[in-house]
Homo-oligomer: 357 residues x 2
Amino acid sequence: MQQRTIAFLESPIVLAPIAGPGTPELTAAAANAGAFAFLACAYSHPAKMRRDIARVRELTDKPFGLNLFIEQKPADVGLELLVLADQHLDGYRDELSIPHRESPPLPRSEYHEQMRVVLDIRPRAFSFTFGIPDAETVKELKQRGIFTLGTATSVEEAVALQEAGIDAVCAQGAEAGGHRGSFLHSESSPLIGTLALVPQVIDAVSVPVIASGGITDGRGVAAVLALGATAAQLGTAFLLATEAGTNAAYRRALATAASTETVVTQVFSGKAARGIANRMTRELADPDARAPYPHQNVLTRDIRDAAAAQGRSDFLSLWAGQAFPLARAEPAGAIVRRVLAEARSAIEAASLRLSSP
Amino acid sequence: MQQRTIAFLESPIVLAPIAGPGTPELTAAAANAGAFAFLACAYSHPAKMRRDIARVRELTDKPFGLNLFIEQKPADVGLELLVLADQHLDGYRDELSIPHRESPPLPRSEYHEQMRVVLDIRPRAFSFTFGIPDAETVKELKQRGIFTLGTATSVEEAVALQEAGIDAVCAQGAEAGGHRGSFLHSESSPLIGTLALVPQVIDAVSVPVIASGGITDGRGVAAVLALGATAAQLGTAFLLATEAGTNAAYRRALATAASTETVVTQVFSGKAARGIANRMTRELADPDARAPYPHQNVLTRDIRDAAAAQGRSDFLSLWAGQAFPLARAEPAGAIVRRVLAEARSAIEAASLRLSSP
């Protein structure tokens, strides 16, 4: 059997980049406990990136990873559509007592400046979603010894990543919380379950495969290692961590919703992402009511910010994977250690079951 | 840790009931190789059930299971809707050179006669989908020593099965091919991935849990055992088996489609089921173009039969789980033995990875 190891992994646990609830404290705490931990930078200005990275380095000597969204050329939409999509949100602004606005804000990409920071900082690993960096950038990352990890939601995307020279593939199953990393399937994101996706990706590429999607305790980690994954990437498992920035309304939703209640929605950003259903996912389900990514993300930001401040989960993006009820409110280090211990017991039990059924 | 064993399992492999491609020969061959094998009887007249069961008994001394769909009271739809839904299909009838008809056929349930056969035959196990038998029937099944296994697509359904006194739960993840067993979620079937669903179901009930959905080789079996399942139920893995009745057009579709191409569709039966997309799933996607279950199943039967005879995969229900590209054309016994060997290697490899990452 092929050996697909990643030399710098201390354990098979990877902390997913969690744009939003992620914090430098969470990244550092997970890294200190033996996980390989990412810091989500997609929504960070370059100056904030540098501050956050400095903070991680204050808190840990362990290597860590940075994550960005690959730049998406904004769809060429007319101002009229943006104004309409923005007006669709005015009812929510009224409920939250925040002002309407004259004209909708436009997205401004800082991708190139963000990538500059990644290249300067030289993290141990760089992971990305929504595409593949251009060949020149991949070359620069490699020259600096930065391990590259791309996100695939299908076999085709995994193959495309390998062909672009990316060092490893993160296979993101349908269960995953947050944004779907799809980039070759324009119509809609393939929703292939982790259990079905991971072995097919492993068969199609020769690079290491990290599994993500629906892995929220050690049983899930053991399961994806049995599928042949080199490691398991967990995000939802850390949403209730002491060090996470998950706001109170979001934590409450995670503690009370049922696992049947997540949906894949485009209402918050214009891109498909999984979260707990709420008023916004229901009321804006009509595609005509919203703008494409990244416009919609900019349009809804004032609402999400106000909702977080006011504790209104109706208007928040409550990203969560389908196993979110298994997440526990513990310090991140305790989560890493518990998950590892659970994974070991799970493999032992499975081994026994196979030898004496 | 709880011991959740099922005494009569020779191995943790269960052959799913496969209505359509399933045959008595497939059931017997899988049983002879050490799987616990079901025979799908949902679409069989009681007389055919008895013939098929007799044939299984000719071919194996091993115990086996029977499976039925719990009776669904047909939705109270007007004749007008049925006529319209049937006329929607006339274009396909023209392409297949089969006659239009004066009036749409009506579904006739043989559930009670089928259940009578189950009670007479006393199979080792009886499994079911789309609901729970009434309390009297559950009692009769138990009195005859028949092990009962119900299908759940959510934690709520698993709990309902346990509360009804059912002996074990088959947790059906979103990856699964064929009909979704949902019965408490009228709007739409929850599509929770196997990796996320199984541990949540295990935590919610105390009976043994058999995992299904997306398990198409030994890696998948190992994975669900690691999740804590007592056994893995495989259907898609056997679609290309020598003994399966899978027709030529269906086999061709399985051999050529990509794993991104399955959809959950209601066009064939009126009930949600996963299969490879084709003209019918695309062209009848509008809910107004079809009748509810079980009407639609009866309306499309002539088309599916003719399409199978004529080798036209455009008009067939090509049920397939999301890992169907992992299925192999082998005798069923070889599949069972290979999958078991793969599962053992997968667990060993995972165990190594956890001890020395």
